[in-house]
Point group: C2
Chain length 288, copies 2
């Protein structure tokens, strides 16, 4: 079978595949695009990774991930910002190496409350400040920073940005080409404001990437790994996908699944299963 031309495999879905394997199984499945993670890229070095990506002929959809912006002033925060600047450069290099239609998008996970802190408002303000500190670098590199709201169950330890509306409020201070949002079904499907905020995100030109995977309970012991193939859970991908497409979103659509069972499966099998799941749940909703 041929995979949907808009499907992009986020490398985290096949977490234990190295970069060469990830590129190969994605390509072999007839998938046209891939989203990469920093660790496997840096394992081979950026230049080598860029060459491997170019040789694959795949489009590059996003780089994961920057962020960790909630630390108070100090050397740790400075180091985090410097690391984000390297991530911006990586994103630009990989987007240039990918096939035509690649997008230079760096996904940002804000970070949780610093140890011992209960100051959620302060942590959220530091996210805005950090993005302000990076915006000029991103603009110069032609990279869009995609603020990813994470599900509120991660608000204390992973990301103090919890809704698409909140991400857009932060992004509003910046040029839409420089700061946008990641729209991930897993994180926002429950939000009573999800449709109005997707419409708003589109109107404001902020949908930097659309990512899909499913939600199912009960959770595994590690709630970070509670993501599933589309169709295995309760998310209505039709209404969400149509809402995103209605805004004019025309980029690749990534599947990013954190799931221990899927990670332990053969990468080629996972990509094939992902493509089948995408064809069934997403493809029917991509015509405008």
């Amino acid at each position: 079978m041929t995979a949907d031309p808009r499907l992009s495999i986020n490398q985290a879905t096949i977490k234990y595949a190295d970069l060469a394997t990830a590129l190969r199984v994605t390509k072999d499945a007839g998938v046209q695009a891939i989203g990469l993670w920093r660790e496997p890229v840096n394992e081979v070095g950026l230049d080598t990774a860029a060459k491997m990506l170019a040789d694959s002929g795949l489009r590059f959809s996003t780089h994961c991930r920057g962020g960790f912006f909630t630390l108070p002033e100090g050397p740790e925060r400075t180091a985090a910002l410097d690391d984000n600047r390297r991530a911006i450069e990586e994103t630009a290099t990989l987007a240039a190496a990918g096939a035509e239609g690649s997008t230079a998008v760096l996904v940002l996970v804000a970070g949780g409350l610093p140890d011992g802190s209960r100051d959620l408002i302060g942590a959220r303000e530091r996210v805005r400040d950090a993005i302000g500190a990076l915006a000029d670098d991103a603009k110069a590199a032609g990279v869009t920073l995609a603020i990813e709201p994470l599900h509120p169950m991660y608000a204390s330890d992973r990301a103090v940005v919890s809704t698409l509306g909140q991400a857009l409020d932060i992004a509003a201070d910046f040029d839409a080409a420089v700061v946008g949002a990641a729209v991930d079904t897993f994180h926002i499907w429950w939000d009573p404001q999800v449709f109005e905020q997707i419409e708003r995100a589109g109107r404001e030109g902020r949908i930097a990437t659309y990512q899909v995977c499913d939600w199912k309970t009960p959770f595994p012991a590690d709630v970070l790994l509670s993501r599933h193939y589309m169709g295995d859970g309760v998310i209505d991908f039709g209404s969400l996908t149509r809402a995103v497409i209605a805004t004019g979103y025309d980029r690749d659509i990534e599947v990013e699944i954190f799931n221990a069972d899927i990670w332990s499966d053969d990468p080629a099998t996972v990509v094939a299963r992902t493509a089948a799941s995408f064809a069934e749940t997403i493809t029917p909703h991509l015509d405008r």
Copy 2:
């Protein structure tokens, strides 16, 4: 020590205590109010429970719980609505039996998606319809239905009402004396709109009950039991409590903790610990 006069022990905090024990340990700790659950009340029968409550001299703050409103039309939904009518009667009877200052508040947990359904919007509409079906009964009984938004991590299997704003939007169709909201720190602390929605809830006369407990990660295997004594987690009780008090809220404040370790502890110890935690985290913020 004397417990804060506004503290109310929600019976779920000492889940394995029967009604007699719950009333006794609450009273013995110098606590003035209690919130009851239907099961232990019905274990002794409503009339007996009302007499026991009256004899205790405690105020009655809420009855838990009604709801389960997301079922589609059919006998199960009809049975659920009938059961809610019984819960309304229980609430009125217990509030009349409690000491002066008791409040007739029935807490409603909306219910999750029906088995096999992905229709979140439809489920949310059925919640509104169900409340409409019960509003006259509640009004006649002098009972306030308190819609409780639950944390979005419970949106699929427990409650499709996920934010205070959403609860208030549903309540807006009804008289404020009949339909309000439960403001529980555990469920709403993460919400970027929490302060504006608390202010709105107060302005609209909808804060039927204010409940407190803490949020901490990592979660236990059952995420339903991830609630903690105030001060043991990351919630800033100062800002939230001051926001609630600023609206003019003058009722009891319940502590409702679902936690397997706390449940396995001695009830008198739990009540004492709860009172101490309340004195440290809530009491300093109760002056307007």
